[in-house]
């Protein structure tokens, strides 16, 4: 188990570099957008990874509310953190691509806006974890995660209707994707998933360690004769 982590880390690094090579060199250049389209191999896998992590966060939160198992709480905390990071990547790479292609940095399109709202919800989740003072932080955080997850479909639906009522730039525009592009996209997603898994794993180990240290310190506090205040 101890060896598994460095091995996995090396494999992830190799996979990531190969996927980068594939995205930048092997993938065919898009006809109308040109090279700028290659950011798509980072943008889309980041988005999928972030959504997956938020889904895991929701499941772990529900498990925590039912079983009160501390490991479920760690999983929820870790996936929210890493998910916010990937979601940030999505929100940064999106405008980078949109500026040359659409001529604007940002549009209140349904996918963009719901991703932004999702990001806001999970940042507020991390804030709650940070500011909560009681030993019941996990309960509060898990409750908020459930609220956030319930909110997601409502957010998406409301913005969808909001946008369809207003003029907006045409996005994507259907059409089929080159199978080579699809393969490289999926390869990149795999690499990103491994990368996310790696960060989560190491963050998970760190969090467990931190809690163990905290427990040990608390235990020491129990044993040592306490100074009278």
């Amino acid at each position: 188990m101890k060896r598994a982590f460095p091995i996995f880390a090396i494999l992830t690094a190799l996979l990531l570099s190969y996927a980068l090579y594939a995205a930048l060199v092997m993938a065919p250049t898009e006809k109308t957008m040109g090279d700028v389209q290659r950011i798509f191999y980072y943008h889309v896998p980041s988005a999928w990874t972030a959504f997956l992590l938020f889904l895991i966060n929701f499941v772990a939160s529900v498990v925590y509310l039912i079983r009160r198992h501390p490991l479920a709480d760690i999983v929820a905390a870790v996936t929210a953190e890493v998910g916010v990071v990937f979601c940030t990547v999505v929100l940064v790479t999106g405008p980078l691509w949109a500026r040359p292609v659409w001529g604007i940095w940002w549009t209140w399109d349904v996918r963009l806006t719901s991703t932004l709202v999702l990001w806001l919800i999970y940042v507020s989740y991390l804030m709650l974890r940070r500011f909560s003072s009681s030993s019941q932080t996990p309960v509060l955080a898990a409750a908020l995660a459930v609220f956030g997850a319930l909110d997601v479909p409502l957010v998406y639906f409301s913005i969808w209707i909001f946008r369809t009522q207003h003029p907006q730039p045409v996005i994507g525009g259907g059409g089929s994707i080159d199978p080579r592009m699809l393969h490289i996209l999926l390869l990149n997603w795999l690499a990103f998933l491994c990368f996310a898994g790696l960060i989560c794993w190491s963050r998970y180990r760190l969090e467990r360690l931190r809690r163990e240290v905290e427990e040990t310190q608390a235990l020491e506090a129990l044993l040592e004769p306490r100074r009278v205040l």
Partner: protein, 228 residues
């Protein structure tokens, strides 16, 4: 309803290895004790000895980090909250309401017939129930008495009182002490956390000394401070 005959013999409260931590600070560090019914216990100790935390755990307000509390034969403290009365250091009352209005509200929470019971409880603690002023304008001693009235409103078996004599003049304090002794004689089990142990010298059945999150000794009489 508790079974009075069996409760007389068996302990009413069993505490097993109770630990309560606030982060790295351990407020209770392994408290184990048994308490018999129909007695008055004085819980004594320095600031930060864990007296208030112990009371809050017994009242079901604070979840222990480890260990368990069994009261009236169950560990589910929520289930027996009707039989427990709790009085904290703050008054737990609404400043804008009068004493009677406060008690009427809390009576509704326990779903007991309010009007008469409230009046009799307020009279029992020695305050005029017809006083119309909001309790923010009461004297500290009177507020303390209303606070006690709130704790005993639903006629609980077990009373947990945190500093009932603080900020109260000696006369009122003796008054409250005598009232508690009467209730003990009527079959209640009473825990009093206090710094003014002398007030309970002749009233309490047992003195429980706490220090640094543990019960260090239990004595039937109030010892001189050096003897700790």
């Amino acid at each position: 309803m508790t079974d009075q005959s069996s409760a007389a013999a068996a302990p009413i409260i069993i505490i097993t290895d109770l630990v309560k931590q606030f982060g790295r600070f351990a407020a209770l560090r392994g408290v184990s004790a048994e308490f018999a019914p129909r007695r008055m216990y004085a819980i004594l100790g320095d600031n930060g000895a864990g007296k208030t935390t112990l009371l809050r755990v017994l009242a079901g307000l604070s979840r222990p980090t480890r260990g368990s509390v069994s009261m009236l034969g169950t560990t589910d403290l929520r289930a027996i909250c009707r039989h427990v009365g709790y009085m904290a250091h703050p008054s737990l009352l609404y400043d804008e309401l009068s004493g009677t209005e406060n008690l009427r509200y809390f009576a509704r929470l326990y779903e007991i017939e309010g009007r008469q019971r409230c009046a009799s409880v307020i009279s029992a603690v020695g305050v005029d129930p017809l006083l119309p002023r909001p309790i923010a304008q009461y004297s500290q001693g009177m507020r303390q008495k209303i606070s006690l009235a709130r704790a005993i409103l639903h006629d609980p078996q077990v009373l947990l009182l945190d500093e009932p004599f603080s900020n109260v003049d000696v006369h009122s304090a003796r008054d409250i002490g005598a009232r508690l002794a009467q209730m003990r004689d009527a079959g209640k089990t009473i825990f009093v956390v206090t710094h003014q142990s002398s007030l309970l010298e002749s009233l309490a059945d047992e003195f429980v000394w706490m220090q640094a999150g543990q019960i260090v000794t239990r004595t039937p009489h109030l010892l001189p401070v050096e003897a700790r």
